[in-house]
Amino acid sequence: MSAQHLTDLAKKLFEEERAIKRLDGWFRIKEYRRDTDQEFAHLPVIEKAGEQLKIICEKLPISISKYAVFAGTQRDAFASTYALINPEFKVETFCGYCDPTAVYDDLKPDEEFTKERIENMRSYDRTIPYVRELTAVYDKYEEYTSEVAFFVEQVTGHVIPDMRPVLEFGIDKLISDIKSKIDTDNEKQKSTHRAMINSLEAAKILANRYRELALSDAENADEDEKERLLNIANALGKVPAKPAENLFEAIQSFIIMWQVMCLEQAPNPYAFSVGNADRIFEPYRKMTDMSREDTAALLKHFLVFFNVGDRSWAISQNLIIGGRDKNGNDLSNLTSFALFDAYYDMNLPQPILSVKLHENTPDEIYCEMGRFFFTPGVLTPSLFNDDAMFKVLKKAGIEEDDLENYMIAGCQEPLIWGKDSGNTTNSWLNLGKILELTLTGGKSAISGKKIGKQNNDDAVDVLKNIRWRFYHNLKYLTGKMADAANGCSKALANLPVPFLSAFMGGIESGYDCRDTENQGTKYNGSGCLIHGNTVVADSFIAIDCLLKERPEDAANLISAVKCNFEGYEELREYLLSRPKFGNNIDIVDKEAVEVTSKTADIVRSQLNYLGNHFRPDFSTPSTHLLYGYWVGALPNGRKSREMLNYGIDPLYGDANLGLGFRTLSTMKLPFKKMCGGCASHIGLDPKYFKGETYEDKGLEFRTKVVNPLFFNDVYEVSPFYVYLNVTTPETLRKVLENPKKYAPNGVYIMRIHGTFVNFLDLSPAIQQDIITRLDLNSTSVAC
């Protein structure tokens, strides 16, 4: 089949997928599990999971699209749920509670899935140990989560399985390896290994069903279609049971494995990530010396696989290109460039593209990226700095040989490929709310509710000792948060994942990667997403200024923030005019370093269910809006319910001297302590780039943006992550006003936090946030 024909099919396949409005496979899976719970009740829970996965793979209705060159879909693992791409989503609807049965609201009743059938399933779900335990955790910590002093959740998805052994050796070999271990296993390991064998068998079952379907469809197909279907059938006659021997088989094998992994965690296992796809597939491309063009054509189908339904609901699945080894050698290859070609030509909302950079990254990578950054409406890669990331991870305890295998789960969280269960979104800490509660003596300025420790101390005394009080409060609430987060992880352990665990080191360890008593993966930790570091730093400095410059007004500050500065407008203007992070003003930048550093230490000191440390992650995936909504006015002059700063960035509007000063402030932050990750967004006006070709602009982008930010040797560890949108607010407004003109195919890709999305799919609140946070004053290049 020609590359052009493959491309045409991939585009039609995506179109077909986008026309799918209803996702109900996940509901069938829920029912299959319920209907067999009794049958397998005698088994350890992990063995039950393995058996049930086999049943799911035996019973789930399957089909092969007339445009597909590979069999397999993720469609049955996802519901139409994810808030940010749901047009109904509103910032104010966040309620600090993660109800695992709320997903049933996302299935519209029809003749087959009646309301009664849905409600029966929901009622049953409420009785299972996982839901009961999780609900108990939320009930216990509701005081803190309802206005998001912190938030906690169970973490599904969000890891990077290493599927390479399946491609290289095949499932049969893995099963044989597992069997050889069972004799020396303890009872728990025996159960886990048995469950893994069954779950791997499930993949073979599914593969075989697709093979039979392809053969049967081929019987009545015309010549072209027959060839396509027989190719699928032939591949599935080998993989994933046996090793792949060319790129086609490798991709087919990978797709089946990925599908089963998602089915195991249905519904909504967001943010599984592929890892370095170039490293996965290059050996198989090389086996037949396939050209870049033909490789790209096949990879286009691979990319379409990550798009589910009308809004690409399987969000935050990350795919990486490039990077270095521990000696600094570049690891990109021809498949890296074929992936760029495939991404550019398809321009799909998923999977997210990340590019790892380092000092020896070849010019060609920057040249390739030029067309992504400078073509309006085309996806842009997230950028990671390997040189810095290696240092961060090494300090966090990652072994030297594992460093090159850090991958990105979800948006920006670094995890080690197939070895790291990081529970990345387990906990979420709201420094803005904690500062508010510190100022008010524990009484919410939003609702008046009492939250945390209470006091009625003198206002001026509170301000004079604001740092001590804040950190004291922070320690207390972080402890509560860790307890709650661990409760969520323990609840989730009721749903073991033997299939996934087989690609997370579970074959060697004999333990499930969700096991809370025995560590199944080489590395383990729990994530904490920290919100509002620079807002708090700005607030501390504003308080200092007030005490020093206008001591007579100090007593009014707390009253002013309690009433959202109503009647204190002049005081607010004064506070707004005090130094703000992001302008290379040493006093406030140092404060931001201090806030970030101390908070990271406090978070890091918390231990999870296995006694491993929490991982500070300074990222706020649109939650700077959601959590900001629950934070009253703050001493930096920010008004009640307004957004917090995004990730580690200055608060919108506060950095107005341009990219140079903003970069100088940013690079001072203690990146070495951000082992859970961090987030930073730069909105750039394309007019600053003068190169005549995309390639020239890509190199110019390296010179003006990447090198100063990533490869400056001034500080021990440079920033290691940034994502960009190269556009202007005016352009985006035009796209919204006239989508048919600016996005004729209905897709205009923008980035929100680590993921990219179709701008037109977003809820209005998030669309406006993107426009607001372009914040071009903070990134202007000429003065």
Partner: protein, 236 residues
């Protein structure tokens, strides 16, 4: 030292990425000025030490041979402090550029110290220059002739209809004279713009210059004439 604006730009006011500091005060009164804050004593007073510390803190951004550029207003009006500051910056191996109208006494005490020199040569007609901007052409030309040969000169001409577009031949005559001393200079033609108009209004001042726009053809023709005489032309 008094500074009214700061920011970074790339390769516009000297080589590489540069911190550009606008020093307050100007001895001229060009009606098209795009930084009119500099005409008035606006801005903030800093000690030499404070500015030095800030510039040093910006070192990570001086990539591609960048550094700091002092402009204005007219930066050489603060030549005494500027001179001390430049010495300190050189101790830190920071590349220094000034952008100047070359009409002040202070010019002579500063220009030799800088690594890169940008001079505005606005008009070769003494009367027009004096009337419109208040500048003394003879002083400017004397300073330029003093500076030429000691280092590379980047000469800028604000090309403005109704002010100097009819004087192309005179410009050429001047540059030919200069060339006899040294060809170590280039010329950049800056077309008239009105980016500063809003700033004038914000300052409560009337923006008095209108209709100064020039066409691309006029610029092209001027550049062509310069090239004909082997005068180097720059576009940034």
């Amino acid at each position: 030292m008094r500074i009214f604006e700061k920011g970074f730009n790339y390769s516009q006011d000297g080589p590489g990425n540069r911190l550009v500091l606008h020093l307050s005060g100007c001895n001229l009164h060009c009606p098209w000025c795009s930084n009119p804050e500099g005409l008035f004593q606006s801005g903030t007073e800093y000690s030499v030490e404070d500015i030095f510390a800030e510039i040093v803190s910006c070192k990570p951004m001086f990539f591609e041979g960048g550094g700091v550029t002092f402009t204005g207003g007219e930066c050489t009006l603060q030549s005494e402090e500027l001179s001390i500051l430049i010495d300190k910056l050189h101790d830190e191996k920071i590349n220094v550029c000034i952008e100047t109208n070359a009409s002040t006494d202070g010019f002579l005490s500063v220009f030799e110290k800088v690594d890169y020199l940008i001079i505005d040569y606005k008009c070769p007609d003494a009367d027009i220059l004096k009337n419109i901007t208040g500048a003394d052409l003879s002083a400017i030309e004397k300073n330029i002739f003093t500076a030429i040969g000691s280092k590379f000169l980047h000469i800028r001409i604000p090309f403005i209809d109704g002010f100097n577009t009819h004087l192309v031949d005179d410009f050429i005559v001047f540059f030919e004279k200069l060339q006899k001393n040294s060809s170590d200079f280039d010329v950049e033609i800056l077309p008239y713009h009105e980016y500063g108009k809003v700033k004038w209004e914000k300052l409560g001042q009337e923006y008095k210059y209108n209709n100064g726009k020039v066409t691309n053809q006029e610029i092209h023709d001027f550049e062509a004439q310069l090239r004909e005489k082997n005068i180097k032309v720059r576009r940034s």
